[in-house]
Symmetry: C3
Subunit: 266 residues, 3 copies
């Protein structure tokens, strides 16, 4: 039983998501398609990249992660397959896999339409505007049928694209921008517990955000009083500013693109 | 073929829903996960409770209903399994199962993390902030693999939590608050046809809402003129105020927390 | 492995979608239900009709397409099954299948509740307000179990309902209204490439919209400068006005019901 997860910014008011699923099931009717989200804001590659990180390694080995947030469809950006120890990722090379390739070893492959068109029993009429349906979906479906990757793509030796880094690390201070704001208004920063522990071998002394100083991190939202802010490691290991049973974005009147969080290290 | 339904307030703009699904499929890759809704308003336990009632008994016997609307995650509220004649329910004990336990006989069990950690072949690193992914999902998955409930939980003898009752019943009059407003603007009250028929053995004489008096109930929306209001039993058996091809919430300028519906009995 | 796709305007904040899925799985627990969209605007039959067209023929042969946008539920509109060479469609006869029946040959059948009630082993308590759950879902499920169509429905000889045509075609000029606006703000017109090629055997000279004249069609969004408008054939073959990495609806300050697009032919 193979699994294809599916993340996109297609929204759910059109038939786009449906046509991608149809395209997959026409090639492999027995694959299990798992919807992750189709509500990534249009073209918000960074939030897409973050989302992938929050779910990918909860899935069984050999799961194929299809992810399409693709403002540059039809331009020169490459359609790619990224292979890690346990998973395949299929989507555009535009930074969407930034946090995955920071996380672990990988190899990358550029999908070649001309190879796809040589695979027997499948038509590949490629539109210029909808690679999700016409390239990425069939590639994910073919991988789920154990078609060897090299029949679809060529190895890439250069680095994949990454979203610009939001972290500035100095001696005993880290400045980070806001990575994303989740459904509950929690402010997710780009500082990861891994970065702190493994790379910096540091501990946090205090966190400063706007006029607020947090002198310790908490474990649960309910450690703060109702309506009061706290800092904690998010369930996916990013430093997060939250408000117990409230919205941190509103509490702090967040300017998502300008506001910075300052972390002082011990 | 076992089925797990999945309702939450996680929204669809983050990877939360995805990680819960991954957590389930890692334990039982062949289970069928059925999305119900992830758009319950954050922390709106009552609407969650109502929604469960509208779908749970349309599913095949032995379906596992996973439901997570959990403002108190990490606090003292219990993670529970509720078992009825035909179904299992997995989620927090915070009122989310209020209408189910009004509806039929049940037994309840408190999930014990320490038991879960003794089950072979599965890791249970429990985060403090995301029990949906780390406790409820694995429990639902283990139930779908026929792991006995008592290997995961202890019987609870006290009553489960309930949301506060919105009904005031006097001799020949019922006052009810607004339970929820659905997608189409229909106003759902907390009066159920079962309550009226079985408990009260009464019939409705008239329904009053704001300056409007409804002297009879209708069977279909189209019984009223286009744009005009009517009262009917909703498809799930709750008293509902609707507007034919319009929105009752806008028509009546609804104040959802304050407005009351008055029902006079024959 | 049979597939039922499911499109509706039920939204995802209630349990409606869930109860439809339960109703299907109670009859056929092994069918694969594929969510298309439940975010069609309430009662927006035309957008529903367009959406169906964008996905239906990407699915494997024999897929059953369940589609419910049903403002007239409980009124005289017929519940129908539409059969084309490769697919079944189940839903209300209110124009929702307009673009399908323009597209290809079909036969149509009126669902008869009294026939359904004679099918062994299944209960059919039909609500007056929720045919999606009580009629369309069971019919789709029964089709997926290969119950012959004629045990559920009678042949219809009259034409099915269609949404009003938005196209005015004169000698060398086509005027079209706006069919829908997609998630990305792209303006979809009702002119199809098939209509132009096959019926009119014409080519486009220029497209006029508001104070803008487009002297050629492009192949990809990125053919225009970032933030600039262009005209292209959409991925489902409709004439579309778009803005590269922007929203055409905002760029043109679109009045969706009044604005017209003018196409001059060579």
């Amino acid at each position: 039983m193979r699994i294809i997860t599916f993340l996109s910014d297609f929204g759910l008011k059109d038939g786009y998501v449906g046509s991608v699923k149809g395209s997959i099931l026409s090639i492999n009717p027995s694959v299990k398609i798992v919807d992750i989200s189709h509500e990534i804001s249009p073209f918000d590659i960074r939030t897409g990249a973050y989302s992938i990180l929050t779910y990918y390694n909860y899935f069984p080995k050999n799961t194929i992660h299809l992810a399409v947030v693709d403002p540059g469809v039809g331009s020169q950006r490459l359609p790619v397959i990224v292979k890690t120890a346990n998973y395949y990722f299929v989507g555009p090379d535009n930074g969407l896999f930034s946090y995955i390739i920071q996380n672990e070893g990988y190899s990358a492959y550029a999908i070649q339409t001309k190879y796809l068109q040589q695979i027997k029993g499948i038509d590949f009429p490629v539109s210029h505007t909808f690679h999700g349906r016409d390239i990425f979906a069939p590639v994910a479906a073919l991988l789920s049928k154990n078609i060897p990757l090299m029949q679809m793509a060529d190895n890439i030796t250069r680095n994949l694209e990454s979203v610009p880094d939001l972290l500035e690390i100095t001696d005993n201070r880290i400045i980070t921008g806001v990575l994303t704001v989740d459904r509950f208004g929690n402010i997710i920063t780009e500082l990861r517990i891994n970065t702190l522990d493994r790379l910096l071998k540091a501990e946090i002394d205090q966190v400063r955000f706007k006029d607020h100083i947090f002198r310790k991190l908490n474990d649960t939202y309910s450690a703060a009083q109702t309506g009061k802010p706290l800092v904690l490691w998010s369930s996916s290991g990013f430093l997060e500013i939250a408000v117990n049973q409230g919205r941190a974005d509103e509490y702090f009147n967040l300017d998502r693109t300008r506001d910075k969080v300052e972390i002082l290290l011990k």
